[in-house]
Amino acid sequence: MTEIVALKNISKHFGTVIGVDNVSLTVEQGEFVTLLGPSGCGKSTLLRMIGGFEEPTQGGVVISGKDVTHLPPNKRPVNIVFQDYALFPHMSVGKNVGYGLRVGGMRRTEVAERASDALELVGLADRFDAKPHELSGGQRQRVALARAVVRQPKVLLLDEPLSALDANLREAMQVELKRLQRKVGLTFIMVTHDQTEALALSDRVIVMREGRVMQDGTPDVLYDRPSSSYVAGFIGTTNLFQGQVRGETLHALGHQLLVPKGLAPDGSMLTFGFRPEKAEILPLDAAAKGTLPATVTDILYHGNSARIVVDVSGVSLSIDQTIAGARHGSGLPEIGDRVQIAISPDRIMVLADEVAA
Protein backbone atom coordinates (compact mmCIF):
# COMPACT_ATOMS: atom_id res chain seq x y z
CA MET A 1 0.00 0.00 0.00
CA THR A 2 1.19 3.48 -0.72
CA GLU A 3 0.85 6.44 1.53
CA ILE A 4 -1.33 9.13 -0.04
CA VAL A 5 -1.79 11.71 2.72
CA ALA A 6 0.61 12.45 5.53
CA LEU A 7 0.06 15.02 8.23
CA LYS A 8 3.24 15.84 10.09
CA ASN A 9 2.98 17.29 13.60
CA ILE A 10 0.24 19.59 12.46
CA SER A 11 -1.23 22.29 14.73
CA LYS A 12 -3.75 25.03 14.18
CA HIS A 13 -4.27 27.91 16.55
CA PHE A 14 -7.12 30.41 16.27
CA GLY A 15 -5.79 33.29 18.33
CA THR A 16 -5.40 31.76 21.77
CA VAL A 17 -7.69 28.83 21.01
CA ILE A 18 -5.96 25.62 19.95
CA GLY A 19 -8.03 23.95 17.22
CA VAL A 20 -5.67 21.12 16.34
CA ASP A 21 -2.84 20.15 18.64
CA ASN A 22 0.20 18.39 17.15
CA VAL A 23 -1.52 15.70 15.10
CA SER A 24 0.39 13.26 12.91
CA LEU A 25 -1.30 10.67 10.76
CA THR A 26 -1.05 8.91 7.44
CA VAL A 27 -3.70 7.65 5.08
CA GLU A 28 -3.08 4.84 2.60
CA GLN A 29 -4.21 4.76 -1.01
CA GLY A 30 -7.81 3.51 -1.28
CA GLU A 31 -8.53 3.71 2.42
CA PHE A 32 -11.76 5.03 3.93
CA VAL A 33 -10.66 6.95 6.98
CA THR A 34 -13.03 8.75 9.33
CA LEU A 35 -12.25 11.54 11.77
CA LEU A 36 -14.70 11.07 14.61
CA GLY A 37 -15.40 13.33 17.54
CA PRO A 38 -17.83 15.78 19.10
CA SER A 39 -18.18 19.29 17.67
CA GLY A 40 -15.18 21.45 18.42
CA CYS A 41 -12.74 18.54 18.62
CA GLY A 42 -10.77 19.83 15.63
CA LYS A 43 -11.83 17.19 13.11
CA SER A 44 -13.27 19.70 10.61
CA THR A 45 -10.25 21.97 10.97
CA LEU A 46 -8.01 19.00 10.22
CA LEU A 47 -10.05 18.21 7.09
CA ARG A 48 -9.97 21.86 5.99
CA MET A 49 -6.18 21.87 6.35
CA ILE A 50 -5.96 18.87 4.02
CA GLY A 51 -8.27 20.69 1.59
CA GLY A 52 -6.26 23.89 1.78
CA PHE A 53 -8.91 26.11 3.36
CA GLU A 54 -6.88 26.62 6.52
CA GLU A 55 -3.14 26.96 6.79
CA PRO A 56 -1.57 25.07 9.68
CA THR A 57 0.12 27.14 12.37
CA GLN A 58 2.77 24.43 12.59
CA GLY A 59 3.59 21.25 10.76
CA GLY A 60 3.12 20.11 7.20
CA VAL A 61 0.67 18.43 4.83
CA VAL A 62 1.99 16.00 2.22
CA ILE A 63 -0.32 14.68 -0.47
CA SER A 64 0.95 11.95 -2.74
CA GLY A 65 4.55 12.70 -1.96
CA LYS A 66 4.30 16.44 -2.48
CA ASP A 67 4.41 19.08 0.24
CA VAL A 68 1.21 21.11 -0.20
CA THR A 69 1.23 22.89 3.18
CA HIS A 70 1.18 26.36 1.63
CA LEU A 71 -0.74 25.63 -1.57
CA PRO A 72 -4.27 27.05 -2.05
CA PRO A 73 -7.22 24.63 -2.56
CA ASN A 74 -7.19 25.01 -6.35
CA LYS A 75 -3.61 23.71 -6.53
CA ARG A 76 -4.26 20.53 -4.54
CA PRO A 77 -5.23 17.11 -5.94
CA VAL A 78 -8.11 16.75 -3.49
CA ASN A 79 -11.81 17.56 -3.67
CA ILE A 80 -14.29 18.11 -0.90
CA VAL A 81 -17.99 17.49 -0.40
CA PHE A 82 -19.28 20.23 1.86
CA GLN A 83 -21.78 19.73 4.62
CA ASP A 84 -24.26 22.03 2.83
CA TYR A 85 -23.14 20.56 -0.55
CA ALA A 86 -22.43 24.11 -1.85
CA LEU A 87 -24.00 23.39 -5.23
CA PHE A 88 -24.00 26.56 -7.32
CA PRO A 89 -27.67 27.62 -7.40
CA HIS A 90 -27.41 29.46 -10.72
CA MET A 91 -26.07 26.47 -12.66
CA SER A 92 -27.77 23.29 -13.82
CA VAL A 93 -26.78 19.97 -12.28
CA GLY A 94 -24.68 19.14 -15.34
CA LYS A 95 -22.91 22.53 -15.26
CA ASN A 96 -22.23 22.05 -11.55
CA VAL A 97 -20.64 18.67 -12.11
CA GLY A 98 -18.67 19.90 -15.12
CA TYR A 99 -17.51 23.09 -13.41
CA GLY A 100 -14.17 21.72 -12.23
CA LEU A 101 -13.35 20.46 -15.72
CA ARG A 102 -14.54 23.62 -17.45
CA VAL A 103 -12.40 25.98 -15.34
CA GLY A 104 -9.52 23.63 -16.03
CA GLY A 105 -9.90 24.53 -19.73
CA MET A 106 -11.42 21.31 -21.05
CA ARG A 107 -13.48 21.49 -24.24
CA ARG A 108 -17.21 22.02 -23.74
CA THR A 109 -18.28 18.79 -25.45
CA GLU A 110 -15.87 16.67 -23.45
CA VAL A 111 -16.93 18.39 -20.22
CA ALA A 112 -20.57 17.52 -20.89
CA GLU A 113 -19.62 13.92 -21.65
CA ARG A 114 -17.56 13.47 -18.50
CA ALA A 115 -20.22 15.22 -16.40
CA SER A 116 -22.93 12.86 -17.59
CA ASP A 117 -20.66 9.89 -16.91
CA ALA A 118 -20.18 11.12 -13.35
CA LEU A 119 -23.93 11.64 -12.94
CA GLU A 120 -24.48 8.15 -14.32
CA LEU A 121 -22.20 6.86 -11.57
CA VAL A 122 -24.48 8.29 -8.88
CA GLY A 123 -27.66 7.33 -10.73
CA LEU A 124 -28.72 10.84 -11.73
CA ALA A 125 -27.99 10.85 -15.46
CA ASP A 126 -31.56 11.99 -16.21
CA ARG A 127 -31.26 15.13 -14.06
CA PHE A 128 -28.48 16.75 -16.09
CA ASP A 129 -30.52 19.86 -16.90
CA ALA A 130 -32.29 20.22 -13.56
CA LYS A 131 -31.43 23.07 -11.20
CA PRO A 132 -30.14 22.16 -7.72
CA HIS A 133 -33.25 23.58 -6.03
CA GLU A 134 -35.41 21.10 -7.95
CA LEU A 135 -33.65 18.13 -6.37
CA SER A 136 -34.28 16.34 -3.10
CA GLY A 137 -31.70 16.38 -0.31
CA GLY A 138 -30.38 12.95 -1.21
CA GLN A 139 -30.10 13.85 -4.89
CA ARG A 140 -28.21 17.04 -4.07
CA GLN A 141 -25.83 15.00 -1.98
CA ARG A 142 -25.19 12.72 -4.93
CA VAL A 143 -24.63 15.65 -7.29
CA ALA A 144 -22.07 17.01 -4.83
CA LEU A 145 -20.35 13.63 -4.84
CA ALA A 146 -20.36 13.48 -8.64
CA ARG A 147 -18.94 17.01 -8.84
CA ALA A 148 -16.14 16.06 -6.46
CA VAL A 149 -15.15 12.77 -8.14
CA VAL A 150 -15.36 13.99 -11.74
CA ARG A 151 -11.91 15.58 -11.51
CA GLN A 152 -10.46 12.26 -10.35
CA PRO A 153 -8.82 13.65 -7.23
CA LYS A 154 -6.24 11.69 -5.29
CA VAL A 155 -8.32 12.06 -2.15
CA LEU A 156 -11.99 12.82 -1.57
CA LEU A 157 -12.81 14.78 1.56
CA LEU A 158 -16.29 14.58 3.08
CA ASP A 159 -17.37 17.07 5.74
CA GLU A 160 -20.32 15.60 7.67
CA PRO A 161 -21.75 14.41 4.33
CA LEU A 162 -24.89 12.81 5.70
CA SER A 163 -25.81 15.14 8.53
CA ALA A 164 -28.27 17.20 6.45
CA LEU A 165 -30.35 14.12 5.57
CA ASP A 166 -33.13 12.54 7.62
CA ALA A 167 -32.54 9.23 9.37
CA ASN A 168 -33.97 6.85 6.74
CA LEU A 169 -32.17 8.51 3.87
CA ARG A 170 -28.96 8.61 5.86
CA GLU A 171 -28.82 4.84 6.05
CA ALA A 172 -29.49 4.45 2.33
CA MET A 173 -26.77 7.01 1.55
CA GLN A 174 -24.30 5.14 3.77
CA VAL A 175 -24.70 2.11 1.52
CA GLU A 176 -24.42 4.33 -1.56
CA LEU A 177 -21.29 6.05 -0.29
CA LYS A 178 -19.56 2.75 0.47
CA ARG A 179 -20.57 1.39 -2.95
CA LEU A 180 -19.23 4.50 -4.69
CA GLN A 181 -15.95 4.29 -2.83
CA ARG A 182 -15.45 0.67 -3.84
CA LYS A 183 -16.39 1.47 -7.43
CA VAL A 184 -14.06 4.42 -7.97
CA GLY A 185 -11.34 3.08 -5.68
CA LEU A 186 -10.67 6.56 -4.28
CA THR A 187 -9.23 7.43 -0.91
CA PHE A 188 -11.96 8.89 1.29
CA ILE A 189 -11.42 11.01 4.37
CA MET A 190 -14.66 11.73 6.17
CA VAL A 191 -15.50 13.87 9.16
CA THR A 192 -18.45 12.94 11.35
CA HIS A 193 -19.76 13.10 14.89
CA ASP A 194 -21.95 10.04 14.32
CA GLN A 195 -20.24 6.91 15.64
CA THR A 196 -22.59 4.48 13.85
CA GLU A 197 -21.76 6.14 10.55
CA ALA A 198 -18.05 5.98 11.32
CA LEU A 199 -18.14 2.30 12.27
CA ALA A 200 -20.31 1.32 9.32
CA LEU A 201 -18.30 3.04 6.58
CA SER A 202 -14.67 3.23 7.60
CA ASP A 203 -11.65 1.04 7.21
CA ARG A 204 -10.08 3.09 9.96
CA VAL A 205 -11.47 5.53 12.51
CA ILE A 206 -9.54 8.29 14.21
CA VAL A 207 -11.21 9.44 17.41
CA MET A 208 -10.42 13.03 18.33
CA ARG A 209 -10.87 15.13 21.41
CA GLU A 210 -9.85 18.74 22.02
CA GLY A 211 -7.59 18.86 18.98
CA ARG A 212 -5.77 15.62 19.74
CA VAL A 213 -6.00 12.07 18.47
CA MET A 214 -7.35 9.79 21.20
CA GLN A 215 -7.20 6.55 19.25
CA ASP A 216 -6.53 5.47 15.70
CA GLY A 217 -7.69 2.03 14.64
CA THR A 218 -10.05 -0.21 12.72
CA PRO A 219 -13.70 -0.12 13.82
CA ASP A 220 -13.49 -3.50 15.57
CA VAL A 221 -10.38 -2.51 17.48
CA LEU A 222 -12.06 0.70 18.63
CA TYR A 223 -15.11 -1.22 19.67
CA ASP A 224 -13.44 -4.18 21.35
CA ARG A 225 -10.28 -2.57 22.66
CA PRO A 226 -10.86 1.15 23.23
CA SER A 227 -7.81 2.71 24.80
CA SER A 228 -9.63 5.08 27.10
CA SER A 229 -12.99 5.49 28.75
CA TYR A 230 -13.51 8.51 26.45
CA VAL A 231 -13.28 6.34 23.33
CA ALA A 232 -15.25 3.55 24.99
CA GLY A 233 -18.00 6.02 25.89
CA PHE A 234 -18.02 7.71 22.50
CA ILE A 235 -18.31 4.50 20.51
CA GLY A 236 -21.25 2.41 21.62
CA THR A 237 -22.32 1.93 25.22
CA THR A 238 -19.85 0.79 27.81
CA ASN A 239 -20.21 -0.16 31.46
CA LEU A 240 -17.35 1.39 33.39
CA PHE A 241 -16.15 0.55 36.88
CA GLN A 242 -13.04 0.81 39.01
CA GLY A 243 -11.09 -2.26 40.08
CA GLN A 244 -7.84 -3.91 41.07
CA VAL A 245 -6.30 -7.03 39.52
CA ARG A 246 -4.64 -9.69 41.65
CA GLY A 247 -3.47 -12.64 39.60
CA GLU A 248 -6.52 -14.01 37.83
CA THR A 249 -9.05 -12.18 39.96
CA LEU A 250 -10.43 -8.72 39.47
CA HIS A 251 -11.60 -7.10 42.67
CA ALA A 252 -14.36 -4.72 41.72
CA LEU A 253 -17.83 -3.65 42.81
CA GLY A 254 -17.32 -5.41 46.14
CA HIS A 255 -16.93 -8.80 44.46
CA GLN A 256 -14.46 -10.91 42.54
CA LEU A 257 -14.44 -11.52 38.81
CA LEU A 258 -12.38 -13.96 36.81
CA VAL A 259 -10.00 -12.40 34.29
CA PRO A 260 -7.24 -13.75 32.03
CA LYS A 261 -3.76 -13.67 33.46
CA GLY A 262 -1.81 -10.48 32.73
CA LEU A 263 -4.85 -8.35 31.89
CA ALA A 264 -3.45 -5.50 33.92
CA PRO A 265 -0.55 -4.85 36.30
CA ASP A 266 -1.17 -6.35 39.74
CA GLY A 267 -2.44 -4.14 42.50
CA SER A 268 -3.02 -0.79 40.82
CA MET A 269 -6.46 0.85 40.77
CA LEU A 270 -7.68 1.07 37.16
CA THR A 271 -10.81 1.68 35.11
CA PHE A 272 -12.36 -1.42 33.56
CA GLY A 273 -15.29 -1.83 31.24
CA PHE A 274 -17.41 -4.23 29.24
CA ARG A 275 -19.98 -3.87 26.45
CA PRO A 276 -23.64 -4.54 27.33
CA GLU A 277 -23.82 -7.54 24.98
CA LYS A 278 -20.72 -9.21 26.44
CA ALA A 279 -22.41 -10.24 29.66
CA GLU A 280 -25.18 -12.64 30.55
CA ILE A 281 -27.94 -12.61 33.10
CA LEU A 282 -28.31 -15.86 35.05
CA PRO A 283 -30.88 -16.85 37.61
CA LEU A 284 -29.63 -16.44 41.19
CA ASP A 285 -29.65 -20.19 41.79
CA ALA A 286 -27.51 -21.11 38.74
CA ALA A 287 -24.15 -22.49 39.69
CA ALA A 288 -21.45 -20.22 38.31
CA LYS A 289 -18.08 -18.88 39.34
CA GLY A 290 -16.96 -15.24 39.27
CA THR A 291 -20.38 -13.71 38.84
CA LEU A 292 -21.82 -10.55 40.32
CA PRO A 293 -25.07 -10.62 42.29
CA ALA A 294 -27.38 -7.87 41.03
CA THR A 295 -30.89 -6.43 41.24
CA VAL A 296 -32.85 -5.62 38.07
CA THR A 297 -33.91 -1.95 38.08
CA ASP A 298 -35.11 -1.28 34.51
CA ILE A 299 -35.96 -3.17 31.33
CA LEU A 300 -35.94 -1.45 27.94
CA TYR A 301 -37.53 -3.55 25.22
CA HIS A 302 -35.84 -3.23 21.79
CA GLY A 303 -37.69 -5.85 19.77
CA ASN A 304 -35.03 -8.42 19.06
CA SER A 305 -33.25 -7.69 22.30
CA ALA A 306 -33.78 -5.97 25.60
CA ARG A 307 -31.48 -3.77 27.64
CA ILE A 308 -31.63 -4.78 31.25
CA VAL A 309 -30.34 -2.27 33.75
CA VAL A 310 -29.10 -3.79 36.98
CA ASP A 311 -27.66 -2.49 40.20
CA VAL A 312 -24.45 -4.02 41.55
CA SER A 313 -23.31 -2.57 44.88
CA GLY A 314 -24.74 0.83 43.96
CA VAL A 315 -23.28 0.90 40.41
CA SER A 316 -25.70 0.81 37.51
CA LEU A 317 -24.78 -1.58 34.65
CA SER A 318 -26.52 -2.21 31.29
CA ILE A 319 -26.76 -5.67 29.83
CA ASP A 320 -28.25 -6.54 26.45
CA GLN A 321 -30.04 -9.85 26.22
CA THR A 322 -31.33 -11.32 22.98
CA ILE A 323 -34.91 -12.46 23.11
CA ALA A 324 -35.78 -15.97 21.97
CA GLY A 325 -38.53 -15.44 19.40
CA ALA A 326 -40.89 -18.28 20.36
CA ARG A 327 -40.93 -17.81 24.09
CA HIS A 328 -41.44 -14.06 24.09
CA GLY A 329 -41.05 -12.52 27.50
CA SER A 330 -40.25 -15.71 29.34
CA GLY A 331 -36.50 -15.26 28.89
CA LEU A 332 -36.50 -11.86 30.56
CA PRO A 333 -36.25 -11.22 34.27
CA GLU A 334 -38.62 -8.78 35.94
CA ILE A 335 -37.91 -5.52 37.69
CA GLY A 336 -36.83 -6.19 41.26
CA ASP A 337 -35.54 -9.70 40.50
CA ARG A 338 -32.31 -10.77 42.14
CA VAL A 339 -30.02 -12.20 39.46
CA GLN A 340 -26.36 -12.79 38.79
CA ILE A 341 -24.22 -11.34 36.05
CA ALA A 342 -21.62 -13.34 34.20
CA ILE A 343 -19.15 -11.27 32.21
CA SER A 344 -17.05 -13.11 29.61
CA PRO A 345 -13.53 -12.82 31.12
CA ASP A 346 -11.85 -12.09 27.78
CA ARG A 347 -14.31 -9.27 27.08
CA ILE A 348 -13.28 -7.14 30.01
CA MET A 349 -11.46 -4.06 28.79
CA VAL A 350 -8.74 -2.14 30.58
CA LEU A 351 -8.94 1.58 29.93
CA ALA A 352 -5.89 3.75 30.27
CA ASP A 353 -7.53 7.02 31.06
CA GLU A 354 -6.32 10.40 29.85
CA VAL A 355 -3.49 8.86 27.86
CA ALA A 356 -3.46 9.66 24.18
CA ALA A 357 -2.69 6.90 21.72
Binding site: F53, N74, I80, D84, H90, M91, S92, G104, K131
Partner: protein
Protein backbone atom coordinates in the same frame (compact mmCIF):
# COMPACT_ATOMS: atom_id res chain seq x y z
CA UNK B 1 -46.45 48.33 -6.10
CA UNK B 2 -47.20 46.94 -2.68
CA UNK B 3 -49.40 49.89 -1.89
CA UNK B 4 -51.46 49.25 -4.99
CA UNK B 5 -51.77 45.60 -4.10
CA UNK B 6 -52.83 46.50 -0.59
CA UNK B 7 -55.56 48.79 -1.86
CA UNK B 8 -56.95 46.26 -4.25
CA UNK B 9 -56.81 43.65 -1.52
CA UNK B 10 -58.64 46.06 0.77
CA UNK B 11 -61.30 46.68 -1.87
CA UNK B 12 -61.85 42.98 -2.41
CA UNK B 13 -62.20 42.29 1.27
CA UNK B 14 -64.60 45.23 1.62
CA UNK B 15 -66.92 43.44 -0.75
CA UNK B 16 -66.53 40.05 0.85
CA UNK B 17 -67.32 41.25 4.37
CA UNK B 18 -69.99 43.76 3.35
CA UNK B 19 -72.63 41.76 5.23
CA UNK B 20 -71.02 42.78 8.49
CA UNK B 21 -71.76 46.52 8.75
CA UNK B 22 -69.54 47.23 11.74
CA UNK B 23 -66.37 46.03 10.02
CA UNK B 24 -67.41 47.72 6.81
CA UNK B 25 -66.73 51.10 8.40
CA UNK B 26 -63.21 50.07 9.36
CA UNK B 27 -62.52 48.79 5.85
CA UNK B 28 -63.77 52.02 4.33
CA UNK B 29 -61.58 54.01 6.69
CA UNK B 30 -58.54 52.01 5.61
CA UNK B 31 -59.32 52.42 1.92
CA UNK B 32 -59.65 56.18 2.33
CA UNK B 33 -56.36 56.40 4.24
CA UNK B 34 -54.50 54.36 1.65
CA UNK B 35 -56.10 56.39 -1.15
CA UNK B 36 -54.96 59.60 0.54
CA UNK B 37 -51.38 58.36 0.87
CA UNK B 38 -51.30 57.35 -2.78
CA UNK B 39 -52.79 60.70 -3.81
CA UNK B 40 -50.17 62.50 -1.74
CA UNK B 41 -47.45 60.57 -3.56
CA UNK B 42 -48.75 60.59 -7.11
CA UNK B 43 -51.11 63.55 -7.69
CA UNK B 44 -48.23 66.04 -8.24
CA UNK B 45 -46.72 63.74 -10.86
CA UNK B 46 -50.09 63.29 -12.55
CA UNK B 47 -50.56 67.08 -12.67
CA UNK B 48 -47.11 67.53 -14.17
CA UNK B 49 -47.76 64.97 -16.90
CA UNK B 50 -51.26 66.33 -17.57
CA UNK B 51 -50.18 69.96 -17.94
CA UNK B 52 -47.42 69.00 -20.34
CA UNK B 53 -50.24 68.48 -22.87
CA UNK B 54 -51.96 71.78 -22.08
CA UNK B 55 -52.39 74.27 -24.96
CA UNK B 56 -52.23 77.28 -22.65
CA UNK B 57 -49.04 78.47 -20.97
CA UNK B 58 -50.87 79.21 -17.73
CA UNK B 59 -51.12 76.55 -15.06
CA UNK B 60 -54.81 77.01 -14.36
CA UNK B 61 -57.65 74.50 -14.21
CA UNK B 62 -59.57 73.57 -16.33
CA UNK B 63 -57.12 72.98 -19.15
CA UNK B 64 -57.94 74.71 -22.41
CA UNK B 65 -57.03 71.89 -24.79
CA UNK B 66 -54.57 69.16 -25.59
CA UNK B 67 -51.44 69.59 -27.69
CA UNK B 68 -48.07 68.00 -28.37
CA UNK B 69 -46.53 71.41 -29.14
CA UNK B 70 -44.39 71.47 -26.02
CA UNK B 71 -42.80 68.16 -26.92
CA UNK B 72 -42.17 69.45 -30.44
CA UNK B 73 -40.54 72.52 -28.96
CA UNK B 74 -38.38 70.34 -26.75
CA UNK B 75 -37.08 68.47 -29.73
CA UNK B 76 -35.83 71.73 -31.16
CA UNK B 77 -34.20 72.98 -27.95
CA UNK B 78 -30.51 72.31 -28.46
CA UNK B 79 -29.46 73.45 -24.99
CA UNK B 80 -31.92 71.07 -23.40
CA UNK B 81 -30.90 68.15 -25.58
CA UNK B 82 -27.28 68.80 -24.73
CA UNK B 83 -28.16 68.88 -21.03
CA UNK B 84 -29.95 65.53 -21.32
CA UNK B 85 -26.92 64.10 -23.08
CA UNK B 86 -24.62 65.43 -20.35
CA UNK B 87 -26.83 63.94 -17.66
CA UNK B 88 -26.73 60.52 -19.31
CA UNK B 89 -22.96 60.77 -19.68
CA UNK B 90 -22.45 61.74 -16.05
CA UNK B 91 -24.91 59.20 -14.64
CA UNK B 92 -23.52 56.35 -16.75
CA UNK B 93 -19.88 57.09 -16.00
CA UNK B 94 -20.37 57.67 -12.30
CA UNK B 95 -22.42 54.47 -12.02
CA UNK B 96 -19.74 52.42 -13.77
CA UNK B 97 -17.00 54.04 -11.69
CA UNK B 98 -18.92 53.39 -8.48
CA UNK B 99 -19.53 49.75 -9.37
CA UNK B 100 -15.92 49.17 -10.36
CA UNK B 101 -14.73 50.55 -7.02
CA UNK B 102 -17.71 49.57 -4.87
CA UNK B 103 -18.05 45.86 -5.65
CA UNK B 104 -14.41 45.03 -4.85
CA UNK B 105 -14.66 47.22 -1.74
CA UNK B 106 -17.71 45.26 -0.58
CA UNK B 107 -15.87 42.00 -1.29
CA UNK B 108 -12.90 43.18 0.73
CA UNK B 109 -15.17 44.15 3.61
CA UNK B 110 -16.91 40.79 3.59
CA UNK B 111 -14.11 38.38 2.81
CA UNK B 112 -10.94 39.84 4.26
CA UNK B 113 -10.14 40.58 7.83
CA UNK B 114 -7.72 43.41 8.34
CA UNK B 115 -7.08 45.80 11.18
CA UNK B 116 -9.22 48.92 10.98
CA UNK B 117 -11.90 47.11 8.98
CA UNK B 118 -14.69 48.52 11.13
CA UNK B 119 -13.39 52.05 10.71
CA UNK B 120 -12.95 51.52 6.94
CA UNK B 121 -16.54 50.37 6.66
CA UNK B 122 -17.89 53.40 8.50
CA UNK B 123 -15.71 55.78 6.50
CA UNK B 124 -16.94 54.32 3.21
CA UNK B 125 -20.53 54.78 4.34
CA UNK B 126 -20.05 58.29 5.70
CA UNK B 127 -20.42 60.29 2.45
CA UNK B 128 -24.07 59.23 2.16
CA UNK B 129 -24.79 61.01 5.43
CA UNK B 130 -22.90 64.16 4.42
CA UNK B 131 -25.00 66.88 2.82
CA UNK B 132 -24.27 67.20 -0.91
CA UNK B 133 -23.19 70.79 -0.31
CA UNK B 134 -20.34 69.64 1.92
CA UNK B 135 -19.18 67.04 -0.60
CA UNK B 136 -19.46 69.64 -3.33
CA UNK B 137 -17.54 72.39 -1.56
CA UNK B 138 -14.84 70.12 -0.21
CA UNK B 139 -14.21 68.51 -3.59
CA UNK B 140 -14.24 71.93 -5.24
CA UNK B 141 -11.52 73.10 -2.87
CA UNK B 142 -9.52 69.93 -3.49
CA UNK B 143 -9.82 70.18 -7.28
CA UNK B 144 -8.78 73.83 -7.16
CA UNK B 145 -5.74 72.92 -5.04
CA UNK B 146 -4.68 70.15 -7.38
CA UNK B 147 -5.39 72.38 -10.35
CA UNK B 148 -8.11 70.36 -12.08
CA UNK B 149 -10.28 72.24 -14.55
CA UNK B 150 -13.91 71.84 -13.60
CA UNK B 151 -15.81 69.75 -16.12
CA UNK B 152 -18.32 66.94 -16.36
CA UNK B 153 -15.51 64.58 -15.36
CA UNK B 154 -15.05 66.33 -12.02
CA UNK B 155 -18.81 65.98 -11.54
CA UNK B 156 -18.47 62.24 -12.21
CA UNK B 157 -15.79 61.91 -9.53
CA UNK B 158 -17.95 63.89 -7.10
CA UNK B 159 -21.00 61.72 -7.75
CA UNK B 160 -18.98 58.53 -7.47
CA UNK B 161 -17.74 59.35 -3.96
CA UNK B 162 -21.26 60.02 -2.76
CA UNK B 163 -22.71 56.94 -4.48
CA UNK B 164 -20.02 54.54 -3.33
CA UNK B 165 -21.84 54.12 -0.04
CA UNK B 166 -25.00 52.98 -1.85
CA UNK B 167 -23.20 50.27 -3.81
CA UNK B 168 -21.04 49.07 -0.94
CA UNK B 169 -23.98 48.77 1.47
CA UNK B 170 -26.18 46.85 -0.94
CA UNK B 171 -23.53 44.50 -2.29
CA UNK B 172 -22.09 43.92 1.17
CA UNK B 173 -25.51 43.00 2.52
CA UNK B 174 -25.94 40.43 -0.25
CA UNK B 175 -22.46 38.99 0.22
CA UNK B 176 -23.22 38.44 3.88
CA UNK B 177 -26.06 36.12 2.89
CA UNK B 178 -23.97 34.24 0.33
CA UNK B 179 -22.61 31.01 1.84
CA UNK B 180 -18.83 31.08 1.91
CA UNK B 181 -18.84 27.43 0.85
CA UNK B 182 -19.76 28.40 -2.75
CA UNK B 183 -16.47 30.16 -3.18
CA UNK B 184 -14.61 27.46 -1.33
CA UNK B 185 -16.18 24.81 -3.55
CA UNK B 186 -15.19 26.77 -6.64
CA UNK B 187 -11.59 27.06 -5.44
CA UNK B 188 -11.63 23.39 -4.48
CA UNK B 189 -12.69 22.49 -8.02
CA UNK B 190 -9.62 24.22 -9.38
CA UNK B 191 -10.92 27.69 -10.23
CA UNK B 192 -8.64 30.70 -9.84
CA UNK B 193 -9.73 33.72 -7.82
CA UNK B 194 -10.90 35.57 -10.94
CA UNK B 195 -12.78 32.54 -12.28
CA UNK B 196 -14.49 32.14 -8.92
CA UNK B 197 -15.51 35.80 -8.92
CA UNK B 198 -16.94 35.81 -12.46
CA UNK B 199 -18.46 32.30 -12.53
CA UNK B 200 -19.72 31.95 -8.96
CA UNK B 201 -19.71 35.13 -6.88
CA UNK B 202 -20.93 37.66 -9.44
CA UNK B 203 -23.88 35.60 -10.75
CA UNK B 204 -25.06 35.19 -7.16
CA UNK B 205 -24.82 38.88 -6.24
CA UNK B 206 -25.99 39.99 -9.68
CA UNK B 207 -29.34 41.38 -8.59
CA UNK B 208 -27.79 43.41 -5.79
CA UNK B 209 -25.22 44.85 -8.22
CA UNK B 210 -27.91 45.73 -10.77
CA UNK B 211 -30.13 47.23 -8.10
CA UNK B 212 -27.32 49.33 -6.68
CA UNK B 213 -26.33 50.37 -10.20
CA UNK B 214 -29.83 51.52 -11.13
CA UNK B 215 -30.23 53.38 -7.87
CA UNK B 216 -26.85 55.07 -8.39
CA UNK B 217 -27.85 56.01 -11.91
CA UNK B 218 -31.09 57.62 -10.76
CA UNK B 219 -29.45 59.45 -7.87
CA UNK B 220 -26.70 60.76 -10.13
CA UNK B 221 -29.16 61.71 -12.87
CA UNK B 222 -31.11 64.18 -10.72
CA UNK B 223 -28.30 65.33 -8.44
CA UNK B 224 -27.96 69.12 -8.04
CA UNK B 225 -25.76 70.27 -5.08
CA UNK B 226 -22.55 68.38 -5.93
CA UNK B 227 -23.02 69.07 -9.64
CA UNK B 228 -23.54 72.78 -8.91
CA UNK B 229 -20.11 73.08 -7.33
CA UNK B 230 -18.14 70.79 -9.57
CA UNK B 231 -19.36 71.45 -13.10
CA UNK B 232 -17.61 73.69 -15.55
CA UNK B 233 -19.52 75.28 -18.39
CA UNK B 234 -21.60 72.18 -19.13
CA UNK B 235 -25.02 71.76 -17.63
CA UNK B 236 -26.78 68.59 -16.61
CA UNK B 237 -30.54 68.29 -17.01
CA UNK B 238 -31.56 69.16 -13.42
CA UNK B 239 -29.21 72.16 -13.55
CA UNK B 240 -30.73 73.29 -16.84
CA UNK B 241 -34.28 72.94 -15.53
CA UNK B 242 -33.36 74.81 -12.40
CA UNK B 243 -31.79 77.65 -14.39
CA UNK B 244 -34.73 78.05 -16.78
CA UNK B 245 -37.12 78.02 -13.83
CA UNK B 246 -35.89 81.47 -12.95
CA UNK B 247 -37.83 82.62 -15.99
CA UNK B 248 -40.94 80.92 -14.62
CA UNK B 249 -42.60 77.57 -14.99
CA UNK B 250 -43.26 76.66 -18.59
CA UNK B 251 -45.18 73.74 -20.08
CA UNK B 252 -41.91 72.89 -21.76
CA UNK B 253 -40.50 71.97 -18.35
CA UNK B 254 -43.59 69.92 -17.69
CA UNK B 255 -42.87 68.05 -20.88
CA UNK B 256 -39.27 67.36 -19.81
CA UNK B 257 -40.63 66.21 -16.46
CA UNK B 258 -43.13 63.91 -18.10
CA UNK B 259 -40.36 62.38 -20.20
CA UNK B 260 -38.22 61.80 -17.12
CA UNK B 261 -41.18 60.14 -15.39
CA UNK B 262 -41.61 57.86 -18.39
CA UNK B 263 -37.90 57.06 -18.45
CA UNK B 264 -37.90 56.31 -14.70
CA UNK B 265 -40.86 54.00 -15.16
CA UNK B 266 -38.89 52.11 -17.80
CA UNK B 267 -35.93 51.87 -15.40
CA UNK B 268 -38.17 50.56 -12.63
CA UNK B 269 -39.71 47.91 -14.86
CA UNK B 270 -36.24 46.98 -16.09
CA UNK B 271 -34.90 46.64 -12.58
CA UNK B 272 -37.85 44.52 -11.50
CA UNK B 273 -37.26 42.19 -14.44
CA UNK B 274 -33.51 42.01 -13.97
CA UNK B 275 -33.59 41.67 -10.22
CA UNK B 276 -36.16 38.91 -10.09
CA UNK B 277 -34.24 36.24 -8.23
CA UNK B 278 -35.28 33.16 -10.09
CA UNK B 279 -33.52 30.50 -8.08
CA UNK B 280 -30.92 28.94 -10.28
CA UNK B 281 -31.54 31.08 -13.34
CA UNK B 282 -28.43 32.20 -15.13
Amino acid sequence: MTLLETTSAAVISTQSVSRKPRRWGTRLGWSVTIGAILAFLYVPIAVLVLFSFNTSRSLSWPMEGLTLDWYRKLAGNEQLIEAVGNSFYVATCSTILTLVIGVPAALALDRLSFSGKGAFRKLVLLPIALPGIITGISMLILFRMVGFTLSLETVIIGHATALLAVVVTQVYARLQRLPRSYEEASADLGASGLQTFFFVTLPNIRSAVIGAGLLSFTLSFDEIPVTFFLTGRDNTLPMYIWSTMRRGLTPEINAVGALIVAFSAVLIVLSVILMRDKPGAR
